[in-house]
């Protein structure tokens, strides 16, 4: 690893031209970003941890001993078994079982899948909404811009957690009872997006309004390029850097908000629990001496969010031109 700075200077003094244009992967591996990644052990560790957690969660059905949410596979005889390194621990319940004989490891991995999916869905949805709104506000200015900023001002003056709770509670109430459990994930995504979109849209807007004044946009305008094409093909690629950072940090935030709502009992139902739901269910047994039911979901949640945030922190510094 110590020879990397030399490799970098060598690359810079050499002629960078021989890279084939089409070979995007090679360009990525030759980029400053990749170099920064390779020289930050913390960022690499966080990325490996994150990839490991995601793969472990999504591949879980292939290797865990039971489907923890199929009641047919639960047996009360296996209830309250401690983790395997403690006295009374049994194979294959590596992290022990809960009061219904559910394997904690399987439950955590299945729960992580739900948490990650909700986090991803809300990031993607916010990206779509905020890129659209932010670009329009930044590019056109005027009424759209004013309206967006005003609505944003008002939303920012209500604590975000309150918005998320209210949206989640109210929307769920409006759904017919038969749909409440199935639609819980969708409601959560909506609540997270509505509580977080303002900062996001503002980032895009600020960037877009700076880019708007630059020569290349003026040139495109003079060539009568349609506004939509200017926004999405010319301005958007130049604003992607801060959006990428915001999206990463937002992913961590979304997982946290989801976990908090589920913990408060207005998120995922017990029939398809996310990590937050598992923590809420386990929390009831905290004083019963079966601490593993709550501690392991808590640790998994922390690992997940810490990995995402470390990655986001590094990305913010690596992509910040002032810090180079």
């Amino acid at each position: 690893m110590t020879d990397l700075p030399d490799a970098r200077t060598a690359r810079m003094t050499e002629n960078p031209a021989p890279l084939p244009r089409s070979d995007r992967l090679a360009r990525f591996f030759a980029s400053d970003l990749w170099w920064s990644f390779r020289s930050h052990p913390m960022a690499m560790a966080a990325a490996f941890l994150l990839v490991f957690l995601i793969v472990a969660a999504f591949a879980a059905p292939l290797y865990v001993p039971q489907n923890p949410f199929d009641p047919a596979e639960l047996q009360l005889i296996n209830a309250e078994i401690p983790p395997i390194w403690m006295e009374g621990g049994q194979w294959p319940w590596i992290l022990g079982t809960d009061t219904q004989g559910r394997d904690i490891l399987s439950a955590i991995l299945y729960g992580s899948r739900i948490s990650i999916m909700i986090g991803l869905a809300s990031v993607v949805l916010s990206l779509i909404v905020c890129i659209g709104l932010g670009l329009m506000a930044g590019y056109y200015g005027g009424i759209i811009d004013n309206a967006l900023m005003r609505v944003g001002d008002i939303l920012l003056s209500i604590p975000t957690i309150l918005i998320a709770i209210l949206v989640s509670a109210v929307v769920r109430q409006m759904l017919p009872p038969s749909l409440r459990d199935i639609g819980a994930g969708g409601v959560l995504v909506l609540a997270i997006v509505l509580s977080a979109w303002v900062q996001y849209a503002r980032t895009v807007r600020a960037q877009a309004s700076v880019e708007k004044g630059k020569d290349y946009v003026q040139a495109a305008r003079l060539l009568k390029v349609p506004a939509r094409r200017i926004m999405f093909r010319h301005i958007l690629p130049n604003t992607l850097t801060p959006i990428l950072v915001a999206a990463t940090l937002n992913f961590g935030m979304a997982i946290l908000t989801e976990a908090t709502l589920s913990f408060l009992g207005i998120g995922m139902p017990a029939s398809q629990p996310s990590l937050g739901t598992l923590i809420r269910l386990g929390n009831q047994f905290l004083f019963a001496g079966i601490w593993w039911v709550v501690l392991f979901p808590v640790l998994q949640l922390c690992l997940l969010v810490v990995a995402v945030n470390l990655l986001g922190d590094w990305l913010r510094d690596a992509l910040n031109p002032k810090l180079r």
Partner: protein, 323 residues
């Protein structure tokens, strides 16, 4: 200055009106209030009469105006769940939340400021880098997780602090305080530490960033050159110049702490406004939800406006800024 003051206050009033509209819409459109008040035997005619008497057939704006007028006078109606006045329910729980939030704020300042100074003046040493890393973890941990971990360590394993409730309280007028009894003080420890955790990391990072800036300035160099002892330079000269933004942030964050307290209150079964709100949410007790939303937003908006006005008083350049 007068123009700025009026503009800022009007702005705050606008925000509050929108919040009230939000609260009122929840009131009006989630579930039918008549459904919740009548029983099976009520005839359609009686229902219509009740609807007319309650003013539910009036135009939307008239109803909204009535809601705002009542809310300003502190009348949010009756709770659906326990048939008590919403305002008296909230007034009962208000002191518990405020005590918790103030305690958390004090802890965050007492712990966060010295840590920030330390990490700034010993920048690059292993312990300050370690603290920086810990602060990222602190930001990543949701507050209910911190609460659960504290309970697990201090109540379940060590059994040194109570994990729920508020202990014994003493009432002074309408205010109830747990600060005057040993059990009340003991009960306050874990929840306020849990609530202050996130705030500590914020204060620490802010003080560190400000200190790094101030330590580079000429007057600090001059003080050093004059032979002023290091601790005096750091704590008397430099720190004083960092405190302004810290005070601002702390004041502004009290509002969001009140909102976030609802998570801590749920974990520790702390009988505050937040727990009332969460119970209201699970039972769809809409008047309580609406009242909580209005009150917390009001505190939030009032603090922000106050900070802005104070700033404008101190720094005239801000008066012309976009309001």
């Amino acid at each position: 200055m007068i123009v700025f003051l009026i503009k800022r206050l009007l702005n705050a009033a606008m925000v509050m009106l929108v919040v009230a509209l939000l609260a009122f819409s929840i009131f009006r459109f989630v579930g039918d209030p008549i459904q919740l008040m009548v029983n099976e035997q009520t005839t359609q005619a009686e229902r219509n009469e009740l609807r007319e008497n309650l003013g539910l057939n009036d135009p939307f704006l008239v109803q909204y105006a009535r809601f705002v007028t009542n809310a300003v006078q502190g009348d949010f109606g009756m709770s659906y769940r326990n048939q008590q006045e919403v305002m008296s329910l909230i007034a009962e729980r208000f002191p518990a939340t405020i005590e918790l939030v103030l305690m958390a704020t004090i802890i965050s300042l007492v712990v966060g400021v010295p840590l920030g100074v330390l990490t700034a003046i010993h920048r690059g040493r292993w312990y300050s880098e370690g603290l920086q890393f810990l602060s990222i973890i602190g930001v990543s941990l949701p507050s209910f997780v911190i609460g659960i971990l504290l309970i697990l360590v201090f109540s379940v394993i060590l059994n040194v602090a109570p994990a729920f409730g508020r202990g014994e309280v003493i009432s002074i007028g309408w205010w109830t305080t747990g600060l005057l009894t040993p059990s009340g003080r003991a009960a306050l420890v874990l929840p306020s530490v849990a609530l202050s955790f996130y705030q500590i990391t914020l204060v620490m990072r802010l003080v560190r960033a400000e200190m790094l800036e101030v330590l580079r300035s000429d007057f600090v160099k001059f003080a050093r050159a004059r032979g002023v002892p290091a601790w005096r330079v750091h704590y008397r000269h430099a720190l004083r110049n960092c405190l302004m933004p810290v005070v601002t942030m702390t004041a502004m964050n009290v509002g969001s702490l009140i909102a976030f307290a609802l998570i801590t209150e749920t974990v520790f079964q702390w009988p505050g406004m937040g727990m009332l709100f969460i119970q209201a949410v699970t039972f769809v007790d809409i008047p309580v939800m609406a009242a909580y939303l209005c009150i917390v937003s009001f505190i939030f908006v009032a603090l922000n406006t106050l900070v802005d006005i104070t700033y404008a008083l101190i720094d005239p350049r801000l008066r012309t800024a976009r309001v």
